[in-house]
Amino acid sequence: MAVVFPSKEWLDELKKRVNSDELYKKVAANWEGDYLCIVEIDQEALKEFQKPKVLGGLISMLAAIPKERRAGYKGTPTEKFAKMLGLEIDQDIDPSKLNLEEMAKKVAKIKFEDIKGAATYIWLDFWHGEMRHSEPVAPGDVKNPRFILSGPFSAFKEIVLGKVDPTTQIMRGKLKLKGDLGYMMRNTAPVNRFSQLMSSVPIES
């Protein structure tokens, strides 16, 4: 079943695929490390979020973070974006009770400049062939991730659609990678297999 990106559903499906993949288990048997992905909302994202289902996916990410752990978003452009949609960062959010049609119409009126810097944070944590965490987080929630991968929504979207791999996006300057790069260069098999699995999740656009 196709899912929207980014969404809690997408993260759950990704985790399911990684943890049921025998090849990943084999090639990542020694891998220890997590990624904090910072997906910055760009103009393409604003266009995508005018689709109620895609917007619902984004909101499901926020809703999945317990409200007491959303403090990192306070005072950020992301909080401003949420407010423009009629959401408070620290409120209980039930995406099924929201009028996504109306909220998507509000997105159409938002100018990119007004929310520049807004982003959604994703934590992907791997340990000896297993994906332990695949979840949305707030800024500052994950201390000292081994890698930080950041860049605009459009660059991440190309990866999850399987149009391009993460290494290429970094080489093209579309994404930035920081962290223990030497470790990554020694362990490219888990990285490559994970990329393949990530692009295998069918995406609804």
């Binding site: 090849l23 084999k26 090639v27 791999d165 290494t167 290429t168 970094i170 080489m171 093209r172 300057g173 990678l177 790069l181 030497g182 990554m184 260069m185 020694r186 362990n187 490219t188 098999a189 490559n192 393949q196």
Partner: protein, 380 residues
């Protein structure tokens, strides 16, 4: 956004080393190996330099280790050269490329990655680097990668960064005139592999295509002649190797190198021989990928019917220059079988793999090794 990386100057000809006469550095480090020193090439380089202080680091071994790069770094740190001249094959140039960075930045060599901001870490490019290749194959004189062996893990690692490319490469035909036949063959196949991998890489581009195509044409027409002692063909091969280096250096190598690096590190075989051994088998594996169209087009440019005929032609060329065409001619079945699991895992962890047009999974990698061992055609 993409960038094309190359040295500032490519100096070539019968007297190309005289370019060094214009260098004004007062402290120079020459990186070489024992055989290059014995052949008198280090003295030849010295004769062109006007520096007050010249030190020579000649402890580079074939398929050099990380430890060797660190030893060379220590010499460089003590001397603080303004110029490093690397004269030798790929091993020498790879050590010099790493030492040039490490003399300024104290990091694990493998932390020199394409994503590392070396300037942020304090790198200022204090020393200019001039490469003088003495074999015609590696392309290391113009690429931004360095291949070092991790002896503990028996695998090759590839520190890479656009800032490590040499500033100048000098292609002096005199230094390849006496190259041993075994090296002519091995390094020639290395150059051919670079050009073919560069042309099918997922990062291929118009610049790399042009360079790789021309390099393949020159190599296919001149390797055998160079092997038989033709001086003009030898000079052409020297140019073609650097041309292929410029090509693949800007589109990257793939599966052939992942297999070759791994095999070479475990069985301590010459790099050119290793990649040459795997080239035709990997091309067979690529026949079931988008790369087939590109290989077909390339074959037609060479006057051949299609990619399959091109592969046959490579096998023929390997035989003509007396290179093995299957792994069983190099290692025993027992040692092959004992190492197969490590061969497969290290191949899958090789950083070149990601740029291959078709990436094999675990089982396919194993089958590729088995076919290459037995000389069986790959049809999966």
């Amino acid at each position: 956004m993409w960038t094309f990386v190359s040295p500032r100057f490519i100096v070539y000809g019968d007297d190309a080393l005289s370019f060094l006469e214009g260098e004004r550095a007062s402290r120079v480090l020459i990186v070489a190996d024992e055989s290059i020193t014995k052949l008198g090439f280090v003295d030849m380089v010295k004769s062109y330099l006007k520096a007050e202080k010249i030190e020579v680091f000649s402890d580079v071994e074939p398929e050099p280790s990380i430890e060797t790069a660190l030893k060379c770094t220590k010499v460089a740190r003590d001397l603080q050269p303004q110029l490093i001249v690397a004269i030798g094959g790929g091993s020498v140039m790879d050590v010099a490329k790493a030492a040039r960075v490490l003399m300024e930045v104290d990091i694990d060599p493998i932390a020199i990655t394409p994503f590392t901001d070396l300037f942020e870490l304090g790198y200022t490019k204090k020393a200019k680097l001039i490469a003088v290749p003495t074999t015609s194959g590696t392309g290391a004189d113009v690429t931004w990668t360095s291949v070092l062996t991790d002896k503990a893990e028996h695998r090759k690692l590839t520190p890479a960064n656009k800032e490590i490319v040499p500033d100048v490469t000098i292609l002096d035909y005199r230094v390849v005139a006496t190259m041993p036949k075994r090296l002519i063959a091995g390094s020639g196949l290395d150059a051919l592999t670079h050009a073919v991998e560069g042309i099918v890489s997922v990062w291929r581009n118009e610049f790399s295509d042009a360079l790789c195509e021309k390099a393949i044409e020159i190599i296919m027409n001149n390797l055998e002649r160079s092997y038989m002692g033709d001086a003009e063909a030898r000079a052409k091969m020297h140019i073609a190797a650097t041309m292929a280096g410029l090509g693949f250096g800007n589109s990257q190598v793939g599966l052939v190198h992942s297999l070759g690096h791994t095999f070479g590190a475990i069985f301590k075989q010459h790099h050119g021989l290793c990649v040459g051994l795997f080239l035709p088998y990997v091309m067979q594996f690529y026949l079931k990928s988008d790369a087939k169209t590109r290989m077909d087009a390339l074959a037609r440019k060479l006057g051949l019917r299609d990619a399959e005929r091109f592969i046959d032609k490579i096998f023929e060329l390997m035989k003509k220059v007396e290179l093995p065409t299957k792994l069983s001619e190099v290692i025993s079945r027992e040692s092959f079988e004992k190492s197969l699991e490590s061969l497969v895992m290290n191949t899958l962890n090789d950083s070149s793999l990601g740029m291959s047009p078709r990436i094999p999974d675990y089982d396919q990698t194993k089958r590729i090794y088995e076919c290459a061992f037995e000389g069986r055609r790959i049809d999966f």
